[in-house]
Every structure is written in C-alpha cells, then in structure tokens.
C-alpha cells in the first residue's frame, strides 16, 4: 500500500535475466516513489538498469522473455484503487498500459508503424481504452496534435510516419501517449535521437503538457543537462542500484556519492567557478559488466575515495545525508567533511 498523495510506489524491485553468460541482475532492489504531478528523473549510464526498470513498470519485460521480476510496483489507478503491477494478469495489465500510464521511447523514427496513418495510430489507443467511436477519437486526436504545436494537424493526421521529421514524430508519439490522459508518463530517453534544438522544444513541450494535465513524468536519461532543465527529483543509478536520490537542485549542488560527483565533473560548464583552465574529468574505467559485478560497492574500482577492506567488501545502503537527500556511500561523511583522501 502507498500513501494517499503517491501515484506509484516501487519497493525492492529486482529484475534478473537468464543469459548465455549466466544470470544477470539488471535491477537490484530499487525502491522509489512518484507523487502525483511530480517529475522524477532516472539518470545513469547505459547498462545501469534504468531502461529495464522503466519497462518493468509498464509490465513490458515479460513480453521480451527471460526476465524474472521481484518486489512490488504499486500503482494508484484513476478509480482510486491500488494494484501491484507485478501481480496483474495479462488482461488487467493491458487495461493499465496506455490508459493509466503511457510510455514514449527513445527512437521516434521507428516508434511509429510505417504502414498506418498518424490518425489511426493515435485513435487506436483512444478507441481501445475509452470505448469511443471513430469520430470522437478523431476529434480528440486532432485536438491533441493541435495543442502539441503541430502545424496543420489535419494534414498530419492523414500522413504516414515517413512523411514527418524526427521532431514531429516524437510529438506524434507524445500525442499517442497522452491520448488516454494517463497519470504517469514514462519517457525513455525521448530526446536522445533528436537534434539539440528539437530536444529543447520537446522538453519544453513535456513541461507544458505536465502543467495542463497534472500528470507525473518519469524521465529516463543519461543527460544530466536535461535533468537540470526538468527540475523535480532525481535518482542516480549505477550497476542496477540506486546510488543517490533527492531534489535536483540539492543533488546537483551537493552530490554526496562519488559517482554523482564524478558525473557532474565530467559535464562542461561555462563560467566555471574554479580554475578557469581546468580540464573536464572523465571517470576512469568502464561500467562493470552486469554478469560480473564487483563485490561491495559496485563503483569502488573506479572511485578515488575507495578504502581497502571497506568499500570492496561491504555493500552500502542508502543513507539520509540531510533533508531527504539519500546516498549509498560508506564514506560520504568523510568525503563531505574533506577527511577522505
């Protein structure tokens, strides 16, 4: 069960894949909440488990096969009842997907079916979930395209996907996602495949849409710049685990976990406060392979503060480092007070 103002409560979500190289723990006991109308960014490098976590929220991992899920994903539905996504039947799950929560994906070029018109692809979900007839669904689709800033919505409706640009297609995908007024939108790297100028437009659009509809957004990205722009809360994932979480402003100004610190240092900034000719610092090493995770803190082989006999043996739990800002680091106090070498 989750608190009344919460929309989604994820508790100890783990996802295992059986691969040829052995079992892989892609997501390891991840817990977080999303409140109504909130923006939560899930940040991590590729292979950190952020997309897997997102797909499991939609119940879409089972379709791929080979995945075992554990933990709870409690979602409050529009009718007020709460259900654990992990325990829904396939039929019940289909009523949730697209209706209670919707998802937009990374690649707008291949997200639309090339053989159907935009109209039929937007109307499909409306007709399915709201049991409306075609004319009503069509009106709703037109209205959506119009409000999403698509020039000449009538013409767009009868177009096929290949006739639209990448930015337009992502707008259409947003229209598809919004068509049934979901209360949670999961956006899996929605701007990665787009030009930078279009990226900014799409982010602005999502924020605007959120202000009209009051829906919550779970934004999955590897781009810290976007996270800063979105605001709200952020969760940093590393090797399948949550390593830091808190308000975006707080985490960005006082990162507690060395991984988050390193990520922020690797970002270019104009008007750097410190030495003007400082080089960007890359994080040494690579993300550990999911099959062969290091013991203890998964980040310790790449961490400048790692202590022998401590970080390589003990798994750090999330600790509150002030005002609901959580970090999973055994040495965060030493690091914060400057005692760590």
């Amino acid at each position: 069960m989750i608190e009344p103002h919460k929309l989604l409560g994820v508790r100890d979500l783990s996802v295992r894949f059986a691969t040829e190289a052995g079992p892989v723990l892609a997501v390891d006991r991840v817990s977080f909440d999303i409140a109504r109308g909130e923006t939560l960014a899930l940040v991590g490098e590729s292979g950190s488990g952020k997309s897997t976590a997102a797909l499991s929220l939609m119940g879409l991992l089972g379709a791929a096969g080979g995945a075992t899920l554990s933990g709870r994903i409690d979602l409050r539905l529009k009718n007020g009842s709460t259900h654990d996504i992990n325990r829904l039947s396939a039929r019940e799950l289909r009523r949730v997907r697209g209706n209670e929560m919707a998802m937009i994906f990374q690649d707008p070029m291949s997200s639309l079916n090339p053989v159907y018109t935009i109209e039929s692809q937007i109307c499909e979900a409306i007709i399915l979930h709201q049991k409306t007839a075609w004319p009503a669904a069509r009106r709703r689709a037109l209205e959506l395209l119009h409000s999403l800033g698509i020039p000449n919505p009538e013409k767009c409706m009868t177009s096929f996907p290949h006739q639209l640009s990448g930015g337009m297609r992502q707008r259409v995908m947003i229209a598809v996602a919004l068509s049934c007024e979901p209360r949670l939108l999961i956006a899996d790297e929605p701007t990665t495949a787009l030009d930078v100028t279009i990226q900014a437009q799409i982010i602005e659009l999502l924020k605007r849409v959120q202000s009209w509809t009051g829906m919550a957004i779970l934004f999955i990205t590897h781009n810290l710049g976007l996270v800063a722009e979105l605001g709200g809360r952020v969760i940093v994932m590393y090797a399948g685990r949550v390593v830091e979480q808190g308000k975006v402003a707080e985490v960005f100004s006082h990162p507690c976990m060395p991984y988050t610190q390193a990520l922020l240092r690797s970002l270019p900034r104009l008007r750097r406060a410190r030495a003007p000719r400082q080089r960007l610092q890359a994080i040494p090493g690579n993300v550990p392979s999911a099959v062969d995770r290091p013991a203890g803190c998964a980040f310790h082989p790449r961490c400048g503060f790692a202590a022998k006999g401590m970080c390589d043996t003990r798994l750090p739990a999330l600790e509150d480092c002030g005002g609901g800002h959580l970090a999973a680091c055994l040495r965060w106090r030493d690091i914060a007070s400057g005692k760590a070498a």
Partner: protein, 312 residues
C-alpha cells in the same frame, strides 16, 4: 505509378523477344531438323525436303523466328507437330486447369504460412511442428508426396479418385474430389518456401520499436501480431507469390504428371518428349510473360501494403 507501369510494360517487350529468340534458336539447333524428327529416321530425303518446304524449315533461322514471333503476337502459335492441333487452342484448354490448381495451392499455402507464423501462442508452441512441415514441404519431392497421398486417400482409404480431372461442369463435388490432392501436394512446397521467408521477416519486424509501442498502448498480443507485425512482415511473401503464379507450369509439371491432369505442365512435358517445338516455344513464351506480369503486379501490391514504397 502509371508511368512506372507503362515503362515496365514497354521494357517487357524486348525481354520477351530476347528470351523467346534464345529459346527458338537453342531448340532448333539442339534438336536438329524438325522434319527429320517428325518423319523418323527412315524418311527419304525427298520427303524431308518436301516437309521442310511446306513448313518453311528450309528458310534461314532468323526468318523462321521472324515468322513465328509475327504469328505469336497475333495469337497464332502455329500447329502442333504431333497432334496437328492449333497450339493456341491446346494451351488455352490447359491454362484454366493449371491456373486453378496453382491459385488454390498458393492461397492455401500463403494463408497457412502467414497465420501459423503469426498467432502469438502458436508461434512458439508450434515452432517445431511448423519447421518440420517446412522441411517436409521443401525437401520431399512433389512426386513422392503426390504418390503418398494417392496411396493414403485412394488406395488405402478409397475416399478420392487417384488421378484424372473433372471440370466444374461435371459437378462441384466431382471437381473438388479431383483437385484436393494435387492442391495439397503443390501447396506443401509453397508452404515451406513462404513460411521460411515470412518467419525470417517476422522475426525482424518483431524487434522493431513500434511493436513495443503497440504493446505499451495496451493492445493484446493478437492485435500486436496481426495488426502491427503482419502487414510489415508480409512483403517478401508477396514477391514470392508473384513469381510463383507467374511460373505457373514451373511447380505444376510434376504434380500434373503424377495426377494426370490436363494442365500446361503436362502439356510441356509431352511437348518435350515429342520434340513438339511449337508447343514448347509457346509455353516458354507464356512463362516469360507470366513472370514479368506477376512481378509487376507484386510491385504494385507492395505500394498498397507499404505506403513507404512509392514509384515515381
């Protein structure tokens, strides 16, 4: 679109002329003098000369081809050497038999191949069985399968007549009884080919993002498979169907011979056996024209199924 069709049709003319010329010259040079073949080895030179003069075989080959193609364009393919019947007439009698058998077989094979490889549960549960049928259809020769069916349904169970043909005018039941086994035999092979082609394409399409998007909309697996994956995976099957219908006699030769059906395939076989080259040439031309036309139709069907493909 229209310009494309016209261009393709115009391009078909030189193709047909080139291939029939090739056929004509290879048949006349390889098989030797038609008069010698028709009259037998003991024929007197006078008789051969007389026949050559009568049919125009004493003229240069290029003239003979010219005369043949001029007639062919007007629908006159000459007379059969063995039966003295009009070739055009003989072929016109055979085409409906072959065409009907081929169309039924392709319809059955395509439907079965597409449906069996699309149904969400069946796709996994029946994967082994479908593969087995694919292999049987492709590897077991048509005559083996045909004879096995005759053995099972005619000799053993006695349900169906073993061979022969009954036109629709003999009654629907009689007609269907004669056509079931040839259709089953022929469709087994087509099923194998279509199924492999379709399955490979389907596997590719199933990985595409819009399939995941369709699931995320809340569509059922059946809708995802039939509405979103099928139309994208069916394109290569359309090409194969086009080529197969165009070939007509290609797949039908063995089946028609096994079931003694009066189709173009059997006519072709007996023409070769009897060195009846007007018939061979006419069927050759029919196959070439058929393949070209059906390729064109398949390309047009592409543009209908997939709006991304446009000809201009």
């Amino acid at each position: 679109m229209l310009t494309m069709i016209v261009r393709r049709l115009l391009l078909a003319i030189p193709t047909i002329i080139a291939i029939t010329a090739l056929l004509f010259f290879s048949v006349t040079t390889i098989l030797g003098s038609p008069a010698g073949m028709m009259l037998g080895q003991d024929a007197s030179t006078d008789a051969i000369a007389a026949l050559n003069a009568r049919y125009g075989f004493d003229r240069p080959a290029i003239m003979q081809y010219g005369a043949w193609i001029a007639g062919a364009i007007q629908g006159d393919f000459g007379r059969s050497f063995t039966t003295q019947q009009s070739v055009a007439r003989a072929i016109a009698d055979c085409i409906p038999v072959t065409l009907e058998m081929t169309l039924w077989s392709i319809l059955l094979a395509t439907t079965a191949a597409v449906i069996l490889n699309t149904i969400p549960v069946a796709r996994r549960a029946l994967a082994g069985a479908t593969t087995a049928v694919n292999l049987i259809g492709i590897t077991v020769p048509n005559f083996m399968l045909g004879i096995s069916l005759i053995f099972l349904f005619s000799v053993w169970l006695g349900w169906l007549p073993s061979t022969g043909w009954a036109p629709w005018s003999d009654g629907v039941a009689e007609h269907l009884k004669r056509i079931i086994m040839p259709v089953l035999t022929l469709s087994a092979y087509y099923f194998g080919v279509f199924s492999i082609v379709y399955r490979a394409e389907y596997r590719d399409v199933a990985q595409r993002m819009f399939i995941q998007v369709a699931r995320a909309k809340g569509l059922s697996e059946w809708m995802v498979a039939f509405k979103h994956a099928l139309p994208n995976a069916i394109l290569p099957v359309i090409t194969f169907v086009g080529i197969t219908i165009g070939q007509l006699t290609g797949g039908a030769v063995v089946t028609e011979t096994v079931f003694s059906m009066p189709g173009t395939g059997r006519l072709f076989v007996s023409a070769i056996a009897g060195h009846d080259f007007p018939v061979m040439l006419a069927i050759g031309m029919l196959i070439v024209t058929g393949v070209i036309l059906m390729n064109l139709l398949a390309d047009i069907a592409y543009t209908i199924v997939n709006p991304q493909i446009r000809f201009d």
